[in-house]
Symmetry: C2
Subunit: 283 residues, 2 copies
Amino acid sequence: MYVRAKCHGVLWVYGDVLPGAVEVMNRFKEMGKKIFFCTNNSTKTRKELLVKSHNMGFNITEEEVISTAHSLAAYLKNRNFNKKVFVIGSEGITKELDAVGIDHTKVGPEHMPGSLQQYLSNHFKLDDNIGAVVVGFDEYFSFPKMTKAASYLNNPECLFIATNTDERFPMPNMVVPGTGSFVRAIETCAERKATVIGKPNVAICEHLIKDGTIVPERTLMIGDRCNTDILLGYNCGFQTMLVGTGIHQLNDVDSWKASDDPELHKLLPDVYLPKLGDLLPYM
Amino acid sequence: MYVRAKCHGVLWVYGDVLPGAVEVMNRFKEMGKKIFFCTNNSTKTRKELLVKSHNMGFNITEEEVISTAHSLAAYLKNRNFNKKVFVIGSEGITKELDAVGIDHTKVGPEHMPGSLQQYLSNHFKLDDNIGAVVVGFDEYFSFPKMTKAASYLNNPECLFIATNTDERFPMPNMVVPGTGSFVRAIETCAERKATVIGKPNVAICEHLIKDGTIVPERTLMIGDRCNTDILLGYNCGFQTMLVGTGIHQLNDVDSWKASDDPELHKLLPDVYLPKLGDLLPYM
């Protein structure tokens, strides 16, 4: 049996491991199950996610981490991409591109230098060598970045790839925008749809299914967000388990179950548990 | 007869009046027709649009200018809104809010002051008195503005209003993002839909139809963008004319005509002219 678990909201929340999560995942491994940590977080490389996992006590290797930044770099490499990437995102993406030898723009702040007219007349400049626009999580998302992305994407040969489309991260008293909100902004001004790497898209693990590393009918996907994690399970033919330590709760599931919309029925998990650690007594 | 004309792309393009446009509109007025200039541009007040129109030679009054910034302020005033507005936009909006005595936040640059963690821990602060989030064109659109908007909108009682949803402004060798791309970004991270004031929504001129100033069956809407101008005409029961000096061309119309999608058929104008000035010989 194979077990794929989402990280944030299932194994940990920010810096804090969730109760029992380490014990459950390490027990799976001791039992001889293959485990994978699967994250839409594009701000970290596989190596960085590995260090974070080790520091929390998870017994896992780099090959058992599936991340959108890494899968994105693999996607471009597999297409023999040899131009430059315009990156809206963070170093999680640029380090993974560096690791496969793909050239890219710098990440970080790009503020509007003055009025719109000043910007368009004096500051706006495109790089002729750009062949792809990539959109991941970018806390420096800004109007100049949007303008450049939309302008590059006006060339139909320029690739348009998003790491993921998670809408947002609700926190106490605030809502942090997710990558999905940047992607929708660029899709709107570019008048094109992005190719999305992350969950719920099979692209994030297609290579592992193709080479037999993951056998779908013997795989359990554990997640906290139904429109990414559980839907990926549906799309890949995995069994699915929702845990209540993140985005979606049992009342969400009940409302989708009552609906006539077949799309909402794809979000229904096979099993629900309040938290991953609740599995421990049954193992 | 009543004539409503869009400004940018029909009457002028940036600072340049289109050939024959002044003559046609002034001739309409001399013939005793009521004319209105109707713009989704939220960056200017009615007064500023009036000055621009006069400088180009158009014979028009402030009451004959219909603009989203003005209609937005009227919309809030008519609801007796008495809280503060969080504005993503420009002074076109804040000046119209000032004119009706509605309090609002400042517009202009709001850069990300450091890393995400630094921002959330040290800089992020909400104003308890905000009762509405307004999204218009804002060249200083940024991650901090998105985060605040999404956080305010987490309160279901907070109003969410967009001036318009124009996707983009194509220019030679570049694409400038339109208000629609900001609106979709906020709608995604807020997980709510905005109330849209501008074309193609009847809200932009509902008060003029209600009070009898505009009689739909005797009104011609002239526009260059079918999903805003021509669709407004469809929604209000106006006759419609597309001119080819802006966004959409005759080949766009032909492709929609050939489609089976009834939504696309709403975009079909009654009449097409290459430019507004071509009307002159027939007047």
